[in-house]
Symmetry: C4
Subunit: 99 residues, 4 copies
């Protein structure tokens, strides 16, 4: 939930997925949504540090993300924990939502 | 399920979440509930060692926690395993419950 | 799914949980069920190597387990991967089933 | 979601499971389905590098997999992260689908 580095999005369906990512903090209003398209039958890696619009995500600040999609996708987060020797942490959640 | 260090709570909704945490043990009655509020559209880190009311959680004792909220929240546990070189373990469960 | 060392069972309810564990293999019939009781409002650690009835689980053999309970419980597996430097792996699944 | 090494499939039921695995990429069409049978009441380890028909999975390319079965099975992925000192990552998802 803190400093997630990347999210891998899988769209196994036949329609492009319009994905909206919102970032939440402990002490300020959320930012976003950041919009990403995952083409039909493709995966997409999202690096949170690369998200620039509507604004870059503050660095050095823990955050949580909520990912919404107009077609069912699978989301997998990978996090590098900077307190350790770069142990990757993996967490998988399947999202299925509609407009 | 043992010695969870922290839980990160995400309330992505528009209403404050009233959260109750109950701690279970293998050999004695559960303690709690510990009450925490997660403001609307905010995250909150909970360190179990910081929970003091109604009573501190016994140290050095394995425990499990049940987290209840009056609005849907997302809970992510992080555990430091003291038997190892502080390998963090990550587990994500989404809770959605109502009063 | 291989060589799970322990399972932590949480029964947050008010009725004792009668739990049946069945062990599956790649090349022979499953064994079990092993029966365990988790008292109401208690946790219980199960070490698979300690399961002796109806028969000890073969050592050095990968296996998978299915855990059934007559009341809802939460199950968390911890595995020590002997190929590594004892990295614990954590996996949480909530089971809710009835007789 | 990247370079999964193996998947462990558990078929706890009384009917053989016909399993189809499809591999997705970020920049090209998915390949598959790769077909695997998991006998009734058995486990099966699948190494993705061993999948040869209809075509070997490209090496050195990140991919995601979708696993479909004609009877309910449990799937557990283990991944070796080659960027690290072979830290295994574990992720469990239960699949329940019908034809």
């Amino acid at each position: 939930m803190t400093s997630h580095e990347t999210a891998c999005l899988l769209n196994a369906g036949d329609r492009d997925a319009r994905v909206k990512i919102t970032i939440f903090f402990s002490d300020k209003d959320p930012v976003g949504p950041y919009e990403v398209t995952v083409p039909a039958r493709r995966t997409k890696h999202v690096r949170f540090n690369d998200l620039k619009t509507p604004q870059p995500i503050p660095k050095g600040t823990d955050f949580s993300s909520v990912i919404e999609s107009d077609v069912p996708i699978v989301v997998q987060h990978t996090r590098l924990d900077s307190r350790q020797d770069a142990n990757p942490l993996l967490s998988t959640i399947a999202y299925s939502s509609s407009d």
